[in-house]
């Protein structure tokens, strides 16, 4: 059995509305990519599927590509298009 990692997923704005939560911990196999995490998130929260392609993904405050491999204790945020100011 492969090792497991735990990451924290954060949901903001419309992502928060779609998931009904701001934050959750998700257990994943070691070596999981952002792409695979997003598949898991859509399986948990199907309502987010339609808006997922509008979002950027950050890991520990840095915007990343979907091939990025996750590490233990990473903080992953789903970021809808921003609208500050």
């Amino acid at each position: 059995m492969s090792s497991q990692i735990h990451i924290t997923a954060l949901y903001f704005a419309s992502a928060k509305d779609a998931t009904g939560r701001r934050k959750e911990s998700i257990k994943l196999p070691e070596g999981t990519t952002i792409r695979e995490l997003l598949l898991k998130i859509t399986s948990i929260h199907p309502r987010i599927t339609n808006i997922l392609n509008t979002m950027q993904i950050s890991v520990n405050y840095k915007v990343v590509v979907v091939d990025t491999i996750l590490k233990e204790a990473d903080e992953v945020a789903l970021l809808p298009p921003v609208s500050g100011g």
Binding site: H6, R22, K23, S25, I26, K27, L28, E75, S83, G84
Partner: protein, 180 residues
């Protein structure tokens, strides 16, 4: 980063990790509010414009200060607005604004920069953002102020949710921002 206020919770990534999960999904709720005193660019408190200006110590080496104040307007593309709720990924927003300040200082001859963005529930007319720039000459101050505002609108993880007259709420989309 430690949290000095028991009534708030820190969004710093390490302090929020819970490594003792029994299931693969656990939805802890937490609020994005003021964090440690060292974090000051994002605030849930009313922006005190005078304090922002007073914090710029003019020792005589700059000749222009531009102050931009963004306020909540009573209308938008979705109709009449009764208020606005701002949400932020506080830690990342802080880091992002700091990076913008560094970038601006490389582009213009900047003496001082103060950027404060408010989050939470705001009323019509409330100040949502204040940008103060002090430079030797006025053009740099105007240009840098506009540059910072545009970068914040385009890049910083802050979102606004309009409260509409009919009682509905709506997240403001990027294309809605083009004229704002």
């Amino acid at each position: 980063m430690s949290n000095n206020n028991n009534n708030t919770q820190n969004t710093n990534k390490k302090s929020n990790y819970n490594k003792n999960r029994n299931s693969d999904v656990d939805g802890d709720e937490y609020e994005f509010v003021d964090l440690a005193p060292s974090i000051k660019r994002i605030t849930s408190k009313e922006i005190n414009v005078k304090s922002v200006l007073d914090s710029i110590d003019n020792s005589g080496d700059f000749g222009a200060t531009v102050l931009f104040i963004g306020t909540v307007r009573n209308y938008g593309d979705n109709g009449q607005v009764t208020g606005m709720t701002y949400e932020a990924y506080v830690g990342m927003a802080e880091e992002g604004i700091k990076s913008i300040e560094v970038e601006v200082k490389k582009k213009w001859n900047i003496k001082e920069i103060r950027v404060v963005h408010r989050i939470g529930d705001l009323k019509i007319g409330d100040n949502s953002i204040t940008i103060a720039i002090a430079t030797s000459h006025s053009k740099d101050a105007f240009d840098a102020s506009q540059f910072i505002l545009n970068k914040i609108k385009q890049e910083i993880p802050i979102w606004k949710n309009e409260r509409l007259l009919d009682g509905n709420t709506k997240w403001v989309r990027r294309k809605d921002l083009q004229r704002q």
